[in-house]
């Protein structure tokens, strides 16, 4: 497997008034294509900063970041937006769906800013099918449960066929059972479609669904180990397996 994300000596310094905050103090790591990685750490550890930089929402103060062979540090704002659009799918703790807008329209959103051709409508429907939400595509967020909203958010992340899905506390607002279902979807996407999944979490149970846990503390990497006794969200994975094939068909 090729190296998808290569980070070397990454530092990030914020200025808050007169105080310099060193959020990252030299982080190096490599994530290979098709991996499922959890980035863990308490709040203030720098994990969010690291996620923002890896997700091309932010630029490092110093150091190198290579994403899929492209040196991100040299890119301008428009080029970063294009990478986010084409290569990265974001899933947030608070779902971040547009209210008063149907699930379908929400999923179509990334395609407004650049897509991969084909009918937007069909691609959005296929993405919704892949997360088992195709029957509720005309529902608005306030008509959906939290788990359903997060599935729509995952469909939105999937719709431009990204190389990476970045999920920031994706189960943080969900109960355990629903959280399991969501984790099952990530595992399935990772296993069946080879999408690289990066989970950002401070919950150990969530991180245990990944293959590898990178711990961040005080702006440096405190640990980077394979997961022992990985949790497989088996039952819920099976439930959405059939829809995934529909997605594959459209994609091919």
């Amino acid at each position: 497997m090729t190296d998808l994300i290569v980070v070397k000596n990454l530092t990030k310094v914020y200025r808050m008034g007169d105080v310099e905050v060193h959020a990252l103090r030299g982080v190096s790591l490599t994530i290979r294509e098709g991996e499922m990685v959890a980035i863990m750490g308490p709040s203030g550890s720098g994990k969010s900063t690291l996620m923002n930089i890896i997700g091309c929402l932010d630029q490092p103060s110093d150091g190198a970041y290579n994403l899929d062979g492209v040196s991100v540090a040299d890119l301008n704002d428009n080029q970063l937006a294009e990478i986010r659009n084409q290569k990265i799918g974001f899933v947030f703790q608070q779902y971040m769906l547009l209210q008063r807008t149907t699930a379908l329209r929400n999923v179509e959103l990334p395609m407004l800013y650049g897509g991969k051709g084909g009918s937007r409508h069909e691609r959005a429907m296929a993405a919704l099918a892949a997360v088992g939400m195709d029957e509720r595509m005309h529902h608005k967020p306030n008509e959906l449960s939290g788990g359903q909203q997060q599935r729509v958010a995952i469909a939105r992340a999937l719709v431009n066929e990204p190389r990476i899905i970045m999920a920031d506390e994706p189960t943080g607002a969900l109960d355990t059972r629903t959280g399991e279902e969501i984790m099952g979807i990530f595992q399935k996407l990772n296993r069946e479609q080879g999408i690289t999944v990066i989970l950002v979490t401070h919950e150990h149970d969530v991180a245990q669904h990944a293959e590898r846990i990178i711990s961040v503390r005080d702006g440096i990497i405190a640990g980077d180990e394979p997961v022992q006794g990985r949790i497989l969200a088996g039952a819920t994975v099976a439930a959405v397996a059939t829809e995934a094939e529909a997605m594959d068909e459209v994609a091919s």
Binding site: N78, A81, F90, F92, M96, R100, L109, P110, L112
Partner: protein, 417 residues
């Protein structure tokens, strides 16, 4: 992101908060409505004036025994004679003139069957009815022969006929006295009341042959300098009015044996007056439009205000859009188009309001300014003007909020609660 998509998103955003959108648009609605209404009223007034001048007859101009009041010249006092009119009509002297009519008018005591009133009595030659055509009701006009013979015949305006004899049909054949001289009524005009005329309103005047009037009614008022109060001249065509005026001036100066002196008569060219009036009214209209336009600017400030609120409220949405690949330009365009759509919808509603104002304007023109038949008209170019200004205001006042939206840091925007 394409433009149609942007407009759809903008519409959706506005529809999601209809009341606020409407209140925001109010300034633009009123502004556009006021601009269109004001301009419509101006158009209506201008149209009314032009139609009034058209009633005077195309290609007509007038010579009157006035001296330019701005000059004091002891050697000249005004002079205008029926013989001047004859001179103008002599072959070869004023070829650009097609017809000349003369008139001497004043007031007279009118009595018939116990009814006693004062009316304007206009002594005209028969050509007057050709140069300034009137509507003839019952009866007939007088002839050149009757004019030469100083026949005591009268043609009444419809109001005179109604007041003196009850109705216009029973007037013909009756007798009436003008300053004690008996006249036969031979015809009644049905020219509508208020028709624009140099001289008394034809509906409220009595017309008698010129020579009759000068000999029997106005004998003490005419003298060897003035025996016509106005000469109405019709040029060969509308385009030859200026040429005709030059020729008539030359003939009259020759007749009056003027060399170095100023004219002892005045020439009135309605078209020139109309043009001057039009330009004054036009300037006044523009001024009114400008004043109304100020409310458009106020409306623009309202739009900016609400767009700034909207950007703050939708910070998370902006962050999300940035995260899924929206460029700064996309966000800028989204909010700019939203402001533009607000203004355009406002302009559309404002146009309807402007139509409403124009109806009120018509009412005001007709009832307050007595401009019978005037109509405040909304024309396409005014709508385009008002909508164009509204759109420009949308872009100008929408730009700052849109720029702010586009410059939001996506990370901080996503973190906003």
């Amino acid at each position: 992101m394409n433009l149609i998509e942007s407009f759809r998103i903008a519409l959706q955003a506005l529809l999601s908060n209809k009341l606020r959108a409407l209140l925001t648009m109010l300034g633009i609605i009123i502004g556009v409505g006021a601009v269109i209404g004001m301009l419509a009223m101006g158009n209506g007034f201008q149209g009314f004036l032009n139609s009034q001048f058209a009633q005077l007859g195309a290609g007509n101009f007038y010579v009157a025994p006035f001296i330019d009041s701005n000059r004091i010249d002891v050697l000249t006092s005004a002079r205008l004679m029926a013989s001047d009119a004859q001179a103008i009509m002599q072959p070869g002297r004023a070829p650009a003139v097609s017809q000349v009519s003369i008139e001497f008018s004043g007031n007279a005591q009118v009595s018939a069957g116990g009814e006693r009133r004062t009316y304007s009595v206009r002594a005209v030659n028969p050509e007057w009815f050709e140069v300034t055509p009137q509507d003839l009701g019952p009866g007939r006009l007088f002839t050149s022969g009757e004019n030469q013979d100083r026949a005591r015949v009268a043609v009444l305006g419809s109001i005179v006929a109604e007041r003196m004899f009850g109705d216009i049909n029973s007037a013909v054949g009756q007798r009436l006295d003008l300053n004690g001289v008996g006249f036969d009524v031979i015809g009644v005009l049905t020219t509508p009341e208020g028709t624009f005329s140099i001289g008394a309103d034809p509906a409220e005047a009595i017309f008698i042959p010129y020579h009759t009037g000068v000999a029997r009614l106005y004998r003490n008022q005419v003298n060897d300098r003035i025996d016509v109060s106005i000469i109405t001249i019709k040029a060969q065509s509308v385009n030859e009015v200026d040429e005709a005026i030059r020729q008539v001036t030359a003939v009259l100066r020759d007749q009056h044996r003027l060399t170095y002196q100023d004219n002892d008569f005045s020439i009135i060219n309605p078209e020139q007056i109309a043009a001057q009036l039009n330009s004054v009214i036009g300037a006044f209209n523009s001024f009114l439009g400008l004043v109304a336009g100020i409310s458009l600017v106020v409306g623009g400030i309202g739009i900016m205000n609400i767009m700034l609120v909207s950007v703050t409220e939708r910070t998370r949405e902006i962050g999300l859009r940035r995260a899924v690949g929206a460029k700064q330009r996309d966000i800028l365009l989204q909010f700019l188009i939203e402001a533009l759509v607000l203004c355009l919808i406002g302009a559309a509603i404002g146009t309807l309001l402007g139509y409403g104002f124009s109806l009120v304007g018509t009412f005001v023109l007709v009832s307050l300014f007595n401009a019978e038949g005037a109509e405040a008209t909304v024309n396409m170019s005014n709508i385009m003007l008002a909508s164009g200004i509204a759109a420009i205001i949308g872009i100008i006042f929408g730009f700052f909020p849109a720029l702010q939206a586009s410059r939001l840091n996506p990370i901080e925007a996503l973190r906003t609660e």
